[in-house]
């Protein structure tokens, strides 16, 4: 079953990338869920689509962008999307929760416009939306390794600060934590992880990999650290099962990975029925 993944280079790359995603996405996801930002991940992943579409459009006119992996433009867009959301929150002070749907739906609208201008309604778009097993090239793979290292390093460095901010924001601010810059760093991390993961899982499904394993882990974990352990465990299991079944059954890997996650979630909820959260 899994041998074939070691036979071919491109499959090996996506398997290793998948393993890294299965680690990174749930770890960042724990912070996202605990900080009640889970919708934020969705909004950022949707705005990544706009960036990718923009890059595809530019690629038609400027050869430089044609050679560039659209994912990078996607990351830039998702970081600016995070900033815009903060801005909108200030504008709608009494309806702060409106910021995310505005950005989310607006982003897809603009994305569709770009795609349509670039004549991009084709096979490639489907891979961007729902993921592909063969999307990772050698250079992509190296970038993924570097980014994974970087994100993990930053997370380790700021673990205490993020932890503090997640559980008691007021206390954290009073004790002098720079909330805004920490939030900004965190959003960059999220944008990077979305960029890394989307090549395999697909844009529309990245956020699933961030929230679903954490939602299952919450049912089991008895502490914050345990939550990481369980989340990463569920994440890895889903990525491996998803990738293998996607390859053998010729399905979109994003779909199989997310459905494995859903199965794990339903199992977790059913098995931990009596516990209250």
């Amino acid at each position: 079953m899994i041998e074939v993944f070691f036979q071919y280079d491109f499959l090996r790359y996506s398997l290793y990338t998948g393993l890294m995603i299965g680690f990174l996405a749930p770890v960042v996801g724990v912070f996202i869920v605990v900080r009640r930002l889970s919708m934020m991940a969705d909004a950022l992943s949707h705005i990544t689509l706009t960036g990718i579409a923009f890059s595809l459009l530019l690629g038609r006119y400027y050869p430089f962008f044609a050679g560039l992996n659209p994912v990078y433009m996607g990351m830039v867009f998702s970081i600016s999307g995070a900033l815009l959301i903060e801005k909108l929150r200030h504008m709608y002070q009494y309806y702060k929760e409106l910021a995310i749907p505005i950005i989310l739906s607006g982003a897809i609208g603009v994305g569709v416009l770009f795609i349509s201008l670039a004549d991009g309604f084709n096979n490639d778009l489907f891979n961007y939306l729902f993921g592909s097993v063969v999307a990772i090239s050698e250079t992509d793979f190296h970038v993924v390794i570097v980014l994974t290292f970087l994100v993990s390093l930053v997370l380790l460095l700021f673990y205490k600060e993020l932890f503090f901010l997640s559980f008691d924001e007021e206390q954290a601010v009073i004790s002098g934590l720079p909330k805004r810059s920490l939030h900004f760093i965190f959003m960059i991390l999220v944008a990077l992880v979305i960029g890394i993961s989307m090549q395999i899982v697909g844009i529309l499904l990245v956020s699933a990999l961030m929230t679903l394993p954490v939602a299952s882990a919450m049912r089991w974990a008895r502490g914050f650290k345990q939550m990481f352990l369980y989340a990463v465990l569920f994440g890895e299991v889903s990525v491996i099962t998803g990738l293998i079944s996607a390859f053998h059954l010729d399905l979109a890997p994003g779909g199989t990975i997310v459905m494995t996650n859903i199965a794990l979630l339903i199992g977790s909820i059913a098995l931990t029925r009596k516990r209250s959260l």
Binding site: I100, I102, G111, V112, L113, S116, L204, I257, V258, L277
Partner: protein, 291 residues
């Protein structure tokens, strides 16, 4: 009926667009005050899996070939709205987790079903991003009927919905069943989503529900004004979007949303300028007092 049959494909599309541009903001206004706008995103994504399931069923089983994917989409989004309520109970302390879970499982399921089916990609893109020229007579009838049902429901329960939106506790003590109203609300959203997706596209329905209301919020001074201005913005986005998409040959859904977005940006700018003017006036009047 006779009249509807005589319409050209473009007229059908425009008519459908106008109905949608009317109903989306009305429901959106209620969602806004209940702070639930995000639910439209979750439900619209799960409608996509309903559509995918419908298409797949009609392709694989000859017996089920008559199924219109619109109806399976409607059923899925109804089930989805019930699931959201259920998940809210399961994750009591993290209620906001319910919608991302539904949203991502909806998309995940659709990714699976889509990659299983044999339809061409362009058909899926029509469902996801909307296409005005594919609205046929049956779809128009569906949009018409669901539109009327949604309006009737809204008119019949206007008072109850209003009171539950603004003061849930008061509504409860005055004997309104919150559970029933919540269910009714979910039905409304599901109806609106399934009627709009043919023109605006599933991934963009949420925009039609949110953007016009967000823009009208900038000017409105009462709930009624939010609704009326919302309809105005919604229709303007529709007409503008359809016009430009036809003119520049761009995907309809995208253009409609972008028009809505532009209206929102203009509304925000006008409001900002007003505020600056006001503060300027304040400063100059103070100066005069000092003098």
């Amino acid at each position: 009926m006779e009249l509807l049959q005589q319409l050209t494909f473009l007229e059908r599309g425009v008519l459908a667009g106008l109905i949608i541009g009317f109903i989306c903001p009305v429901v959106g206004a209620f969602l806004l005050v209940r702070r639930m706008t995000i639910i439209s995103e979750g439900l619209s994504h799960i409608t996509l899996s309903g559509i995918a399931a419908g298409v797949l069923m009609s392709q694989t089983t000859a017996l089920l070939a008559f199924i219109n994917p619109l109806y399976t989409g409607l059923i899925f989004s109804l089930v989805g709205s019930l699931l959201v309520e259920k998940l809210r109970q399961i994750y009591k302390h993290f209620q906001e987790l319910a919608i991302p879970i539904i949203l991502s499982s909806g998309i995940g399921l659709s990714a699976l079903l889509i990659s299983m089916s044999t339809s061409s990609y362009s058909e899926w893109y029509n469902y996801m991003f909307g296409s005005i020229v594919t609205v046929n007579l049956n779809d128009l009838l569906f949009i018409f009927m669901t539109g009327i049902i949604a309006m009737l429901l809204l008119a019949a329960f206007y008072k109850e919905l209003l009171s539950i939106s603004f003061d849930q506790e008061f509504a409860f003590t005055s004997g309104i069943s919150v559970k029933k109203m919540n269910f009714l609300f979910s039905v409304l959203i599901a109806l609106v989503i399934s009627m709009s997706m043919k023109v605006v596209g599933i991934l963009l329905v949420g925009a039609m529900v949110t953007l016009p209301v967000a823009a009208s919020m900038q000017f409105a001074k009462s709930f009624r004004q939010v609704v009326f201005l919302g309809i105005l913005f919604g229709e303007a986005a529709m007409i503008g979007g359809i016009f430009f998409s036809y003119f520049f040959n761009i995907a309809t859904g995208g253009m409609i949303v972008v028009t809505g977005l532009l209206l929102l940006i203009i509304a925000l700018l006008i409001n900002k300028i007003k505020k600056i003017m006001n503060s300027y006036r304040l400063i100059s009047s103070r100066k005069e007092i000092v003098k």
